[in-house]
Amino acid sequence: MKEKLLAAMADLDEQTTLALVKELLQNGYTPLDIVEICRQGVELVGKSYSEGDYFLADLVMSEEIFKGVMQILEPLIPLDVQQSGVPIVMGTIEGDIHDLGKNIAIYLLRSHGFRVLDLGVDVSPAQFVESVNACGAPILGISVLLSFCVGTVKKVVDLFQEVGLRDKVKIIVGGYPVDEQVKEYTGVDYYTRDVAQALAICRLILNDQRPHN
């Protein structure tokens, strides 16, 4: 049944997934076990996306199914377990109210065990700095769709520098107008136009930061 759930999740079969979640619960699986199976399903979805077999529409459906799964399981999971994971701060840059790319990236990150603090849209440089400072997140993700707002991303980076926190946080900018030139201009550490790549970058950063034996 575990394999069936994994396959249903990976195949984006909503009804089968939700039915199997309930069945596994009745058969004595713990909510965390089931979340883990579904998370692995999401990983397969992410893999298919990276390989070009799935497109954004499929990620959105996957998010919706996972949300349905969590509606069933979340009330059964202890709060302290829910709040574990490496914190990442994310938000859409000031002046820009687009949130689709950001939300999908957050979904992928959360389903891979990160604790994402979502600051929403139209977030000022000061809000980004305050939030990272408050929770000690090692990674900040800034989403931007309007090329007009690229200058404000630079302001965020400059403000981190100004308050002496720049070396505490890796900054990733993601979205439509970003490229190598935008990375250089703004002074961020990474750029990506692809949510699956955003996940890979976060993992890379954490691996680099872990002490090596």
Binding site: L12, V60, S147, F148, Y176, Q181, V182
Partner: protein
């Protein structure tokens, strides 16, 4: 002066039209569709562009004076008082809830519920009037209320005023500056019509999994509505292409695109082409997996703007022999690069994708607001230097494309004349004298109620 402007207008229009038709001309036209840079170049704010038509016109005149190599300049953005009159919820506007220097932004929400497909499919006009408009126009939230009545009244008047403003500007640009339009009139692909302002992206993406047949049926009924909207807002002289921004293909797999997006879009495009028009399509995002479909439409009928996420070189290879392309200049280069880099890029484009014509250098479907003026100047200088084809050709406007269908027959109304005639029980005088203005006003009303999905 008048003659000189007429000559200039004819030359620019001829150059643009020949390029769209993949025919020979003297040089590559400078022909962006959305030239945001032009709107604020002379110091206007974005609020002034959408609220003060006179200031916008002045800004365009200044821009044309400083960049006379430009061949087309867009006149038809919204006149914001129309949106204020009805409290439209789908846009945030500079100077209203955004800073005056910020840009217009679309706010997506579910203004059609997942369980309302049957209503939309059975009677689209009734659905728009009874369900969609009360939700999307804040002032019309309560049908029949004084506020709603005023919203319809003021909104109708504002719409006519806006049309007048746009027409005046178009004529002034033509007569005083010799400047044609890159496009006139607009529509959406049926799938975008359904997903932009009605179901929202997320809603429609879930619908293609949960109720695919309803999505297909809805797209089908939206074909005629979009055709009517396009032809009702188009240039009656058929000089300019009709504009269609495409929004969702970049999110769809080829399989999803082929099933849900393309069939109704193709049908819409084909009817518009048969009615004697060309189309300027913004292929937003990466259309790499989908653009081969544009080979299915007649050659030289669709001007395709390739976004920065698409690969202009691959686009040229795949469809450039069949449809005109625009793009190739990264937005970031215009905003952050220098004049030398821009010049090198133009040279590269002219020597590769620009060879043989049918190509327009543009940013990703637009020239960004924060383009450096010296970069724009460098782009134009380089196009004039490297984009020359055959200076012995003197471009002149082409005859309007052939018409297999009469646009008048494709324009829709809410209440057909036959129903009105039956209600009247016949008329005693010349029926056509009553019928024509009746249908004209009905069609204006039809266009009015559908504009809110744009």
């Amino acid at each position: 002066m008048a003659n000189e402007m007429e000559k200039l207008y004819a030359e620019r229009l001829g150059r643009y039209q020949a390029t769209i038709a993949l025919e020979s001309t003297d040089r590559m036209p400078v022909a962006s569709g959305s030239n945001y840079f032009a709107e604020i170049y002379s110091g206007n704010t974005n609020q002034e562009t959408i609220y003060d038509p006179e200031k916008w016109l002045q800004a365009e005149k200044t821009f044309i004076r400083d960049f006379p190599e430009v061949d087309v300049l867009r006149d038809n953005r919204v006149w914001a008082p129309l949106y204020d009159a009805v409290a439209l919820k789908t846009y945030r506007l500079p100077g209203r809830e955004l800073l005056p220097t910020n840009q217009v932004q679309f706010v997506e929400a579910e203004y059609m519920l997942a369980n309302e497909y049957d209503l939309l499919i059975a009677n689209p006009e009734q659905f728009i009037l009874e369900r969609f408009i009360p939700r999307v126009l804040g002032a019309a939230a309560h049908n029949g209320s004084p506020a709603a009545n005023m919203a319809f009244l003021k909104g109708g008047m504002a719409h006519v005023m806006m049309s007048q403003i746009m027409r005046n500007r178009s004529q002034t640009l033509e007569q005083a500056c010799g400047m044609p339009q890159p496009m006139t009139g607009a529509f959406l692909a049926p799938f975008d019509a359904l997903s932009d302002a009605m179901r929202g992206l997320k809603g429609v993406l879930l619908d293609i999994y949960r109720q695919p047949d309803n999505v297909l049926a809805a797209c089908d009924v939206l074909v005629d509505e979009m055709v009517s909207f396009a032809l009702s807002t188009a240039d009656p002289l058929r000089r300019y292409p009709i504009f269609v921004p495409t929004h969702k293909p970049t999110f769809l797999s080829p399989k999803q695109f082929d099933k849900f997006y393309w069939p109704s879009f193709k049908k819409t495009l084909q009817i518009i082409i048969d009615a004697g028009y060309k189309v300027r399509a913004y292929l937003e995002g990466d259309w790499g997996a989908h653009w081969h479909h544009l080979l299915e439409l007649p050659k030289g009928t669709i001007l395709c703007d390739i976004d920065v996420q698409g690969d202009i070189f691959k686009a040229k290879e795949a469809i450039g022999h069949h449809q005109c392309l625009a793009g190739g200049m990264p937005d970031s280069l215009l905003i952050l690069g220098n004049a030398q880099e821009v010049r090198e890029r133009v040279k590269l484009l002219c020597n590769t994708v620009g060879q043989g014509g049918g190509f327009i250098i543009n940013g990703g479907c637009n020239i960004p607001y924060n383009t450096k003026p010296e970069n724009y100047r460098a782009m134009l200088d380089a196009i004039v230097e490297f984009g020359v084809y055959d200076l012995s050709i003197k471009p002149v406007p082409r005859p309007a494309p052939p018409q297999l269908l009469n646009p008048q027959d494709l324009k829709k109304v809410v209440t057909p004349w036959e129903s009105k005639l039956a209600e009247l029980g016949g008329v005693l005088g010349d029926e056509s004298l009553i019928r024509r203005p009746w249908e004209l006003l009905e069609n204006l009303g039809h266009t009015w109620i559908w504009q809110w999905i744009m």
